[in-house]
């Protein structure tokens, strides 16, 4: 059974002139437990919207999203919060670290709402990503690459079944980007987590065996034929 199953998923946003602009239109998509899939897509192809829909941050206009057999479309906000806390780890493009919290606290918060706060595990994870000596530093005191590693540790903290990564290397130089990707894949493998990564970085995408384009699965991202 697939960990993630998507059917006839649609999401659009109204433009200022009132026209409904489709952003996501995915007839079918699935991801098996432990599988790692990278989707290629340039900016504006609905990458973030797609991942937000899976994470339950946005609600679709139509369709079905099942995570571990649980339908999240139509679920209450509280239910979606629980899915996010228990089953999903999210790595944001801009890391979205909490600036007023230390590295350790950021990672602890990553597990607090699901598995429960476990500072010892958070410490171990930060050591694992090479930040054992930066536990009590604030994000602003870290380099971009170090912040990315904190974001990875936070996403993995609750041992999620599904990791969503939105342009996770977008703010990193090539060397740091490769290192970050290796870290993400490694920790996903260790935890048995499935990985769904979306990026437009060719170097990063090259590390995956097959890289479907987001446009291949998202009809709304395909170029529209010119009007006659």
């Amino acid at each position: 059974m697939s960990l993630l199953e998507i059917r006839a998923l649609q999401k659009g946003f109204r433009s200022p002139d009132g026209h409904l602009q489709p952003v996501v239109d995915i007839p079918e998509f699935s991801l098996a437990a432990g599988q790692a899939v990278a989707l290629a897509g340039p900016s504006g192809t609905g990458k973030t919207t797609f991942l937000h829909l899976i994470a339950g941050i946005l609600t679709p206009d139509a369709g079905s999203i099942r995570i571990d057999g649980q339908e999240i479309v139509g679920m209450t906000e509280h239910g979606r919060d629980r899915i996010r806390a228990n089953a999903i780890g999210y790595i944001f493009q801009s890391f979205n670290l909490l600036q007023g919290f230390t590295c350790l606290e950021n990672v602890v918060l990553g597990m607090s709402f699901g598995a429960g706060a476990n500072p010892a595990r958070a410490t171990e994870l930060l050591r694992r990503v090479g930040l054992g000596d930066r536990l009590h530093h604030f994000p602003r005191q870290l380099s971009t690459g170090q912040q990315q590693r904190v974001a990875v540790a936070r996403a993995m903290a609750g041992k999620p079944r599904l990791v969503l990564a939105d342009e996770p290397t977008g703010n990193l130089d090539p060397a740091n980007a490769r290192e970050a990707l290796a870290l993400i894949r490694e920790t996903c493998t260790e935890n048995g987590s499935a990985l769904l990564l979306v990026s437009h970085d060719r170097d990063i995408l090259g590390a995956f065996d097959t890289v479907p384009s987001l446009a291949d699965i998202n009809r709304a991202a395909r170029p529209q034929p010119a009007r006659a």
Partner: protein, 404 residues
């Protein structure tokens, strides 16, 4: 733990507004506790402060004036009572002891009161407590000797063997040339231990000293200003009340002293109410400042709240965290409020002691120490619900940035 972490970090992130808001709450809490403690303690202390006497007999006047004059040494004497009246009272079988008081002079603002030595040798001003002479001895009747209350001795700087000339009148004018000094010279022969009663503010001399002081009317030389009365049976006070107040028309029998003082506090109860109202208003304004402070920071917090929601934080956790933050600010404010409270109460207690000799205890525990901080925290929690609802409604997707 998570909730406390969120609260702690948020308070730290908004440190300046946390401090300012907590300070305004501490002022409110301190003011509320002080007003309450002062009015409660003042009432209790003044009502109990009868100097060990059951009643005061004096010239026809209000009972309150008699009590304030004879027990608290504050008011002027309404007139004199004759020796025969004193003798009649002393002969009444219901009366256990009578001590005469004669007033009319001061020394540098401290009232000089003439009395008899049994006031200090036999009388208990509180249960099981007699006046104790700390230095020297009690004056001797018929001699120009003075026994000083502890506070008067300390403020006047007089020692055993020092001499002074009394001034005419109960009050000392601020302009020295307006004061008329008697020629009689009195010698300090003793200083009393502090009794924490109005007696501490008095310069005691023999009753004949006041009666025979040069310049006083010789026709009234045997009169006294008031008589302090101890009854054998407190219920006898009712009969004497009938005798002097209902049947007679020359004298007033102020009994029981505690009830007379309670009437005073009932009369000035509106003043307590105004002070308490002001203190509550300050508390409400301080709670509103918590609301404004957190509410105004919501724009800056929007992204953090969205991140927390994206990490799986339930809406009610966010809601509770904001309420807990408001309550914590109030708790800090209330804790600091105790410092404000003690500082204010020390000042007020010092003023009350200087003016009346009555001691207010700043550290005497009261229920207000529990309910005032609790009320402050409750108000702040209530005020916190407004920003908490705003936080509850934060749109996660639009508050996370950037999108790709």
């Amino acid at each position: 733990m998570t909730l406390w972490l969120l609260v702690r970090r948020s308070l730290r992130q908004h440190l300046l507004s946390t401090i300012v808001t907590a300070l305004s709450l501490s002022l409110a809490g301190g003011l509320l506790m002080t007003v309450w403690s002062l009015k409660t303690q003042a009432r209790q202390t003044f009502e109990r402060m009868d100097g060990g006497w059951d009643a005061v007999l004096g010239a026809r006047s209000s009972k309150l004036q008699l009590v304030l004059n004879a027990i608290f040494h504050l008011e002027a004497s309404p007139g004199n009572i004759r020796p025969a009246d004193l003798a009649t009272l002393a002969a009444n079988p219901a009366v256990k002891a009578v001590v005469p008081l004669a007033m009319g002079d001061n020394y540098l603002g401290f009232r000089i009161v003439g009395t008899t030595t049994n006031h200090f040798t036999d009388h208990e001003f509180a249960e099981g407590r007699k006046f104790r002479v700390r230095e020297g001895r009690v004056f001797e009747d018929g001699y120009r000797e003075a026994l000083l209350g502890a506070f008067a001795a300390q403020k006047l700087g007089l020692k055993i063997g020092d001499e002074f000339k009394p001034y005419h009148g109960l009050n000392y004018a601020s302009k020295p040339s307006d004061n008329v000094q008697h020629e009689e010279i009195y010698v300090v022969v003793g200083i009393l231990d502090a009794s924490n009663t109005p007696a501490d503010r008095v310069v005691w001399i023999p009753v004949a000293g006041i009666q025979n002081m040069a310049g006083h009317d010789p026709a009234t030389a045997q009169d006294v200003s008031a008589a302090l009365v101890k009854l054998r049976d407190p219920a006898a006070g009712f009969r004497l009340d009938q005798l002097y107040n209902k049947q007679g028309d020359r004298l007033t029998f102020a009994w029981p002293i505690g009830t007379v003082m309670a009437q005073l506090f009932d009369k000035i109860g509106w003043f307590d109410s105004v002070l308490t109202l002001v203190a509550w208003l300050v508390a409400v304004v301080a709670a509103a400042s918590v609301l404004a402070s957190i509410y105004n920071s919501m724009s800056a917090r929007r992204r953090d709240l969205a991140i927390l929601r994206a990490l799986g934080a339930r809406r009610r956790i966010i809601f509770t965290a904001i309420i807990a933050e408001a309550t914590t600010i109030a708790a800090i404010g209330a804790a600091c409020g105790f410092l404000v409270h003690f500082a204010l109460l020390f000042g007020a207690a010092s003023l009350v002691r200087t003016q009346t000799g009555v001691v207010i205890e700043p550290f005497q525990p009261g229920w207000v120490w529990l309910w005032a901080p609790a009320a402050l925290m409750g108000l702040a929690a209530l005020a916190g619900t407004v920003p908490a609802f705003k936080a509850y409604d934060v749109d996660v997707a639009s508050s996370l940035s950037p999108e790709s």
